[in-house]
Symmetry: C2
């Protein structure tokens, strides 16, 4: 197990009894000027928007609507201006990971005089400046942004989708599973694929002695594998929504990756897809993951894939290679059972003209040729993208 | 899953590179006056005492030595006086859970004018007053005190061993697995039994829908089951000591019990043993656990014991009752493989004269007859104590 430090001060309020009783006090603790950040129509349609405004009607609320999936740097620029103009004390993010990610970077940009894209490109700058506290009301189980330090921002002009770290995780996160009842099946599935991918990225790691992390991750994988299909089929099943919401948070609040090398592969590959084609992140991950697993399985990695088969997919037997291959097939079939789209053409990517450029960028951004669990060269990355054009038939 | 709130701000520094580089700055951040709290000779023998003093030679260090296992209220009284007299800014606890527990309560007592036993009996009082920050250097993997809000203090005059909660978990915890290399086999084993019991207490819970907690706990159980025997046999095996240290923390930092009813049974029963006979807590738990499991297994609880058998003990089959019984036998045999003492007479408790009094106190203190996973009456508690007099032969 590698040395690590861990400190995460996010105050989690889980369940459906907290928002009405606590939101106002939580926000006014930081001040009277609130920047309300959210996405599109879904929170208006569900009634959450009105409910929140009623709860904080005596505070000064400035609104920034229109945060997109794969949140764009222009939204951050707008937020920066609003936060400064309105002397905002606290940001209230109502939405999924994109909205919370945007809120985090706006929180830093409020104390920065330059263009906020500079903060995304060079995270170190964010540690030198202050950050507005972020309070969030989560409406989608997926990214884990509600209890971590990360944010992913896209700049369509380059195009580049880039991860960035900051000094603070959200101050307070309201996790109410009932707020995800209205999430459509496709988004629920994409969120589940994202959660599963976060767990895979931390599980397939070259630090072999970190057994406790793997044991915890296996438990979290079993959780998402079991409950995601239920949540897709029964959107108002509280237990399914609750287990899915908390596993999303636990999958990426830092804990299960402690003491590992934690060098990710599939996310950098997917970020290129989202940057160039603006596809749904979780769907991109679902498409790439089984192809990456096929690429990564070899004599050295066979034992870990076999362990994955036994502990996560309930496969039994003595032939590790057979188990490993089974685990990949099971992974694919489970993802497919959630998402209808399981190839790149399914999401509208029908030609391979950008694969070389994407592969080059992914390898550089993810340090894939040197640091990955199984090193990925540009050629390997192109192969994974090309494999994703066809039906998976292993 | 039940509603919950969670916030834990402990700053964990895990590994063997942190203390020399960071201890001084961590302490002096809080001030110059340090109360150093520790146990007996072990940290002097290991050289840790001298190493620590050298690192903080420019700070004003007041010492409180002699914190016992099952820490006594008299130590807290001494600490209270020293903390006040020396205007202490921060407490440095060097030792295992007993030392950290004592430091936490001393941290509150420093701001209290009455007898600190009042703070133990009525935890609410501790939330009304301030608490000195506690920094700890952990030397035993067991209690989880290094990342939680609890403390257990004994008052031999009553006699009573009582758990108490406070407003703050340790500010900074240094977890260096190499510092546990010198822990004798028996203490390593007792610590492992304590960890395993913490996991059982949270696993066997009447909130049936909290699948994610159970999945995480199963992973943590597998970790302690695998690594504890290795640590006992190979005291300087870093991976064993590291996995054991982190599983101890994860077993009781609050996370895996979130959303559960979390009403414990074996600990209240054991606290009576330690209060009356001052036996090693972990050994008492190891003796009681299989007998409690035998008591708790019935038609209603059979499915959970069968799940425990499959997920933790790798038992296969279709007969849930057979699996459940196997899991109890496996639990006993694993505990026995760690500890030589597996009956009460083994630890010097040879007559049952106090069992009635102990049973009565345990049932009241643990609300066992109403809140436990399987309700325990006084009569049941006596039966569990009596069963613990004999060899376990199920």
């Amino acid at each position: 197990m590698l040395d690590f430090t861990f400190k995460n001060t996010t105050d989690v309020r889980f369940g459906n009894d907290h928002i009405d009783a606590e939101l106002h006090d939580v926000l006014s603790h930081y001040g009277q000027n609130v920047l309300l950040v959210y996405g599109g129509h879904s929170i208006k349609k569900s009634g959450l928007y009105e409910r929140v405004l009623n709860l904080i009607s005596d505070l000064n609320v400035t609104e920034l609507a229109g945060i997109e999936p794969n949140p764009k740097i222009d939204s951050i620029r707008q937020g920066q201006k609003l936060a400064k103009d309105s002397q905002v004390d606290v940001i209230l993010a109502v939405g999924g990971g994109s909205v919370i990610d945007a809120a985090k970077v706006i929180g830093s940009a409020a104390f920065y005089d330059g263009d906020p894209w500079e903060l995304v490109v060079d995270s170190a700058k964010r540690y030198e400046i202050d950050q507005l506290p972020v309070v969030d009301i989560l409406t989608l189980s997926a990214t884990g942004s509600e209890m971590n330090f990360g944010a992913v921002i896209s700049n369509p002009d380059i195009p580049l989708k880039k991860g960035t770290g900051g000094p603070n995780s959200p101050a307070v996160s309201f996790l109410d599973p009932t707020l995800t009842y209205t999430v459509p099946a496709r988004q629920t599935a994409a969120g589940a694929s994202d959660i599963f991918s976060h767990l895979c990225e931390q599980y397939f790691d070259n630090n072999a002695s970190n057994d406790i992390s793997r044991n915890m991750i296996e438990g979290l994988m079993r959780t998402v594998i079991y409950w995601a299909p239920i949540a897709v089929k029964e959107p108002e099943n509280y237990d399914a929504r609750a287990n899915l919401m908390w596993v999303a948070t636990m999958a990426l609040n830092g804990i299960v990756g402690l003491g590992t090398i934690n060098s990710w592969t599939v996310h950098p590959l997917e970020h290129e897809l989202s940057a160039h084609y603006d596809i749904t992140h979780g769907i991109g991950l679902a498409i790439l993951t089984p192809r990456w697993m096929e690429f990564a399985l070899n004599t050295n990695t066979k034992p870990l894939f076999a362990r994955f088969a036994r502990a996560v997919w309930d496969q039994y037997g003595y032939d590790d290679m057979e188990l490993a291959e089974n685990s990949i097939r099971r992974t694919h079939d489970w993802l497919k059972s959630l998402n209808h789209e399981m190839t790149l053409p399914d999401v509208g990517i029908t030609d391979d003209s950008k694969f070389e450029e994407m592969a080059k960028a992914a390898v550089v951004d993810g340090k894939l040729s040197t640091d990955a669990y199984v090193p990925v060269t540009e050629k390997d990355a192109i192969r994974i993208y090309k494999d994703s054009m066809e039906e998976f038939n292993k």
